[in-house]
Symmetry: D2
Subunit: 338 residues, 4 copies
């Protein structure tokens, strides 16, 4: 079988380099182009690729990508920029997996409220599919445009889905306390991410205002069939990778830990990348993989506590993007990922 | 003025070495003895003390400590062991600041429930004072036995005290999501704290079962004048030091962020080690100091979120112990600490 | 083609878990048994393997391994223990790739001098092949027993081979200053590797006495055809993985940086895992890979400085073991590794 | 006694904040002004100072500093900028301790060669004293301008001084292999120091070209009374603080480890901040202190290996600056530092 020709938009960041490494191992994908405003060899942008991929970055040119036979593009551009480029590819019949936030929120007013800029691609927003395979699986297979999910939201959505699907918890006031490694902040140097500032440090940020909040609520409301709201607090952990979310919910009926664990196991049966763990999850168990690990506890006082861990760059971004790619192009969901 | 002669019980751990470093800078304290089962020079146990303190550890001998003129002993022993040694010192008129958990819980049944062993020093438990100066200040001054507070509890108690004192929040279902550097686990090597296991890793532990829970509830119930209960989840952060707690509470009446911040400022007026911060606290701002930094936020949906940060070894243990020492021996509370 | 049935001896450590992860991706290998004194499921020893390999560790039983059809065993046992088990496998026709030090030093007196115990398998020592494919390639293909090379030695040997092969440097007094991540010390908890001890710390150890010294000298003497001696100093770096060696040599004739770089490029032409880098190597560029990155510099005063970087667990142990496996069983050298 | 009024030039970086913290504990110093191009409260630049120092940064105005009664200024400006400001202070009778490199190299041609810009304050360069108290002690006491030594050079100079003073080693070809925590690179964000780039990474930089090379050679040549040359290689360690240097020298006569250790002990007798260690130094033993720890080894093959460790921000910059201040203003050398 011919390999699927793939383009990557925006090659300079962490999600791009992770994506490249996964695709280099993927038997059914061939990277034909990487775009960047930086006119450099990809191995000069990412020295770890030295000797592994001989490709020079090029400026974004949708006609050229079409001429090259690219059938799909992975968008690793910042939000706002994404929705400038992506329509040009869709118009040319190139399917898109967009790792930015531009097509995640179905309601463009919500986008404007949280991202502080107006959405100007309503046409494609209307048919974009939220790329969380465990929830929206079948719709992804035939999608032209997949909005790859945010790193934090996946832990919250998959951590809570079995509970909200069965209305076992109150749907408002859910607390999602999340902790992320620093790579989640991207590759642009800033004082906050300067090594001596964030090493040996732990802090919260964007308390009550983080843009992943409406994304979490939209997906959980889909699962519940009614509105769900969360209090979401992200924190920065002095480590490269990993997201851990500790989720607090109030049950609406008597529950047991064993019962809920069984529920999670059956809810995620057949989903190869969700592991309902015995013991406690830990980010390190998921590092470098596309696994999302879960455990559910019932604690003194009756609260349900869900623990969720993932690698923010793989499961949280580039890995789930390839999982979506696999579904879209008829590969086994695990190809290149296990 | 003569210096106060001080003994340290259990010199091999992290709280001991921090205490020694603070006391070496303290103009009114003189370390006359350090006990340990390890018959070694203190600088062999703690190489950072090389050339700074010429003292050999000795076996615990209460008569000898009395003969040396020790007026106070800092207990850096494990819980369980502490209550074996401390009565022998109190009997000899030596005041004690105990950094273990043995005298923190007033009700010995609660101790037994959480620590899984019976308490066998009811006599001294009856008069021990919980050594959190901002709450129990005056009682500490004249105490014979001070139960130095736990590291996590200080963030939760001081983080919530202004709210529960004024009954501004519901007193049950409060969520305390805490994160600690690895030194909080002590100095005994175990796989969990082996560098390649906990570095680049983030995980929860003791979910719903951590022994600091009843300590938090006891102090907050004192402040509130009625029972307070919390859901407490500790996590391990890959860094040496620092505790950060993110606390979620439900207000019982309309509140504003500005109003609550003012309340915190006035509640802690005159308390030199509690800083009600502008902006967000971060553990690194407190590293090596006795400060406990706080901020209070009101988020979308109405929840109150309190952020608290401290150095777990200084404010969380040895620093607050010296703060207690200062009160007990008539020094300015800040001596040796600022 | 049938997969090659593989056994792993000693499944509890870091080299074992890395080996398992590589072999799970290898299309031509099947893990049929993992031995350990710990009678546990492999995923309980290594939670990252949860759901990925359903195998319980078993006690070492050479007859059983033979009955299972194991054609090769990877030895992840400590030195000393290795030479107890390995002869029993060789006797049964099972080839062995030994990751311990037991068969690396050809002269058993040298072994005794550095490892402080006598060698008692002279018979197999006589035919063991040192498993550094770039130097001993052909001999590995048909070897019954491969002594997988040490982590530090690979950086020194491959870093210096082009120079000593061409007698461009003085063969005594070479300085090898090496720095290793903490996983190189293994998985057994000790105070030195307790997180709060080695985090935020940098120190030398085993100055002038490290056991990898004779291994470096033996291989370089093979390459030179005459005795080579080095001063080797290892250091511990607060990171999980990676070895970086800075090597100082005195040229015996005028050399230029460009000329030496060309020499290195041609010396390693066709060796897929040695990358002669432009710019400076860095351990992070090799993390998770089997690459060994090199650069050669000529500095003020005329000294040659060689920089070498690798992942100590992959290239330094389990990756090169699979590279050896590939050679021994007729696979492309890169299989499972790129 | 009146406190000495002190100004700090350039308040935004790491050396400034460390200096402020030391001076806040110093009984004989009072910070009257901090200059910066950033018109901000010092606690907004350095949140750890919140509540500890109520001072707003101001633009550099030498007349104003004179009018305030500043008797000394600590220069925390970048090199190049320093020599613009400092003459204006010296003209007004304000003594200066300059933490930049501008007055360290006595020969302005050497400055130009290594710093790639011409020196334009020959007048003050002529009388500047290199501020390494253990070597240039008496000259510092009366100096108007002290050139505070570089972080790396102190480890090399103090590590080698006893050997070169007694001509026990060859004076050329000495290898200084140094490793530094990331704070040594300053506080300006750059990709190299972006957390996910330098965390879990180890690499060399500026091989053979680092600007501290001539500074090391100048001081060691002073000690030897004849030219000394070194090969100096700096490396970046993923930790906040600490420098460790491993130094390789060739003895000119038979030496023993015990003999050399005695020599070091007597050479540094009476120097409170140089600790000739038993065992191996480690950076962590010096963190937060002004100590420089040394050990000397004689290894197989006869080479002398010196190990040196310090805190790069304290001993390597702000601590030794206060040590110089103490000498200049008649305080005990240890004041504020122990």
């Amino acid at each position: 079988m011919d390999k699927v020709k793939v383009a990557i938009l925006g090659g300079s960041g962490y999600t791009a380099v992770e994506l490249i490494k996964i695709l280099l191992r993927h038997p059914g994908a061939e990277i034909v182009a990487i775009t960047s405003r930086q006119d450099e060899h990809i191995a000069d942008l990412h020295p770890s690729l030295f000797g592994r991929l001989d490709l020079r970055c090029e400026l974004f040119d949708p006609d050229k990508l079409q001429a090259m036979g690219a059938r799909v593009a992975f968008g690793c551009l910042p939000h706002g920029t994404s929705m400038e480029s992506i329509p040009l590819l869709l118009d040319r019949g190139i399917r898109v997996i967009d790792l930015s936030a531009d097509y995640r929120l179905r309601d463009s007013r919500v986008y404007q409220e949280w991202y502080k800029e107006s959405h100007h691609d309503a046409a494609n927003l209307a048919h974009a599919v939220y790329g969380l395979p465990e929830i929206y699986g079948d719709r992804i297979d035939s999608a032209k445009l997949v909005a790859n999910p945010g790193c934090y939201p996946q832990t919250a959505i998959l951590g809570l889905a079995p509970l909200v699907a069965n209305e076992l918890i109150e749907l408002t006031g859910i607390v999602v306390d999340s902790k992320s490694g620093v790579s989640g902040a991207g590759r642009t140097p800033k004082l906050t991410y300067h090594y001596p500032e964030c090493n040996e440090n732990f802090a919260a940020y964007a308390v009550g205002t983080h843009r992943h909040t409406p994304e979490i609520e939209q997906a959980l409301s889909d699962v519940a069939g009614k509105p769900v709201s969360v209090v979401f607090t992200p924190h920065l952990v002095p480590m490269d990778r990993g997201i851990f979310s500790t989720i607090y919910a109030t049950p609406t009926q008597p529950v047991t830990e064993a019962g809920l664990t069984d529920l999670y196991r059956s809810y995620y049966a057949g989903k190869p990348f969700v592991r309902v763990r015995t013991g406690f999850p830990a980010t390190k168990d998921t590092t470098g993989t596309n696994f999302l690990d879960l455990a559910v506890k019932v604690v003194r006082g009756g609260k349900v506590v869900v623990l969720a861990a993932e690698d923010n760059l793989i499961r949280g971004a580039s890995g789930v993007a390839v999982q979506n790619f696999n579904r879209m192009f008829g590969f086994d969901e695990r190809t290149g990922l296990l």
